[in-house]
Symmetry: C2
Subunit: 221 residues, 2 copies
DNA sequence: ACCTGAACACCGTTCAAGT
DNA sequence: ACCTGAACACCGTTCAAGT
């Protein structure tokens, strides 16, 4: 007789399913997260998965919440607010760099718990910084969106060479070369920027942006 | 005999395919853009479409480039730089609000022509504003990402009630009610923000963020 | 060169049936 | 309650064949 597929010994749980999903996403990107891949990795069936998880969207959201919760719980709230803000921002940047799919998910379904956690943390720190009244809410919205926007763009670039076919510097050099060929009359800024592209540090530029932001917020006080 | 499907009279072109794709995306969101929907709407076959377009990704990128080009060509470059920046930012915000799929596409494939156009415009205006040297590139990167980040988030919210099942205010009220129920001890900021959520104007908050940014950039001069 | 449409190799999700 | 896996209704893409 043909051997039957081995059924898993221990019980399934939402937790192990989310863990498996995270592994798949980290290894192969969003395209690698399929229900078939999940069932075969966990030696189970579709019904079993759907018993613990509402659908694929729910699964992706749960995996995202886990990653963000990991970043937010590590934040020391009683540090100097300005420094704490930089730490949180950088923590989010690095987490999204390590898990590019998190960035896409946060902007796809912004009403899920993960973004709430982020708003609370950044809003609270801006409050501690002394930003007053209505400006506080504008500033929080702006800063959260800046952080997620840059981190997401960076992640998209990272995703472009996830398979290892081309490495990061080669990818950026190729774009820089393309930009350098543009007509300097029509594209003066991008033409100049091309020279800086291969050597620039994404993390540092990200922090520069945060500082610009904080400088702008300081004028509101 | 069964009647054969009518073949289209005029010749197909990349342009009409992109136009049809834009209509489908605007009407039914990203899920509505399928090769089947395109072929049936244009009374043609798969091969015909693939003859003018590389693949679905290429089609989505081309549609995005069209929308962004429409925004950027309308910009008056010799206006006062500060005012021109606000105009461009608002133009992008409104375009992404009207075509939510554009926001997602720009962050999915940031190396395509559309983003180049945006960088050139915003970078050029910041240059005209007198932002010096290295700071210019940091500032341009930060501002572009802020604009696309907020516009994208706003579009994601808009997408959530695209079908018309729930209107905008009802959707925001529902989220606000959810936030208001959170423990004020654990979520003081979000709890307070809940009260402002239903009445707040996304466009205005977006512009407030741009102003914070420009104020921060002014400190670099 | 331009177009047709059957066929291929996938998807997410459901559900009757099992334990 | 928890799990199985065949089946359903879709996808994007290819390609031999037509004009």
């Amino acid at each position: 007789m043909a051997k039957r597929t081995q059924r898993r010994a221990d019980r399934l749980s939402r937790e192990v399913i989310v863990k498996a999903a995270t592994d798949l996403l980290d290894t192969g990107g969003e395209a690698a997260l399929t229900l078939r891949a999940i069932t075969s990795r966990l030696s189970t069936g579709y019904g079993a998965v759907y018993h613990h998880v509402e659908n694929k969207s729910d699964l992706l959201a749960a995996a995202t919440d886990d990653i963000i919760a990991g970043v937010m719980t590590g934040v020391v709230v009683d540090a100097e607010p300005r420094e704490a803000l930089r730490t949180v921002a950088l923590g989010l940047f690095d987490a999204i760099d390590a898990h590019p799919w998190v960035g896409a998910q946060l902007s796809r379904e912004p009403w899920r718990p993960a973004l709430l956690e982020i708003y609370e943390c950044i809003g609270g720190l801006l409050d501690a910084l002394g930003v007053p009244g209505q400006a506080l809410f504008d500033a929080a919205g702006a800063l959260v969106n800046y952080v997620l926007g840059v981190a997401g763009q960076n992640a998209a670039n990272a995703r472009a060479h996830v398979a290892g076919e081309v490495d990061r510097t080669a990818f950026l050099s190729a774009i820089a070369a393309q930009w350098a060929e543009l007509d300097p009359g029509k594209y003066p800024f991008v033409h100049k920027a091309a020279a800086r592209l291969p050597e620039h540090d994404d993390r540092e530029q990200f922090l520069s942006g945060v500082d610009i932001f904080l400088a702008g917020i300081a004028t509101l006080r």
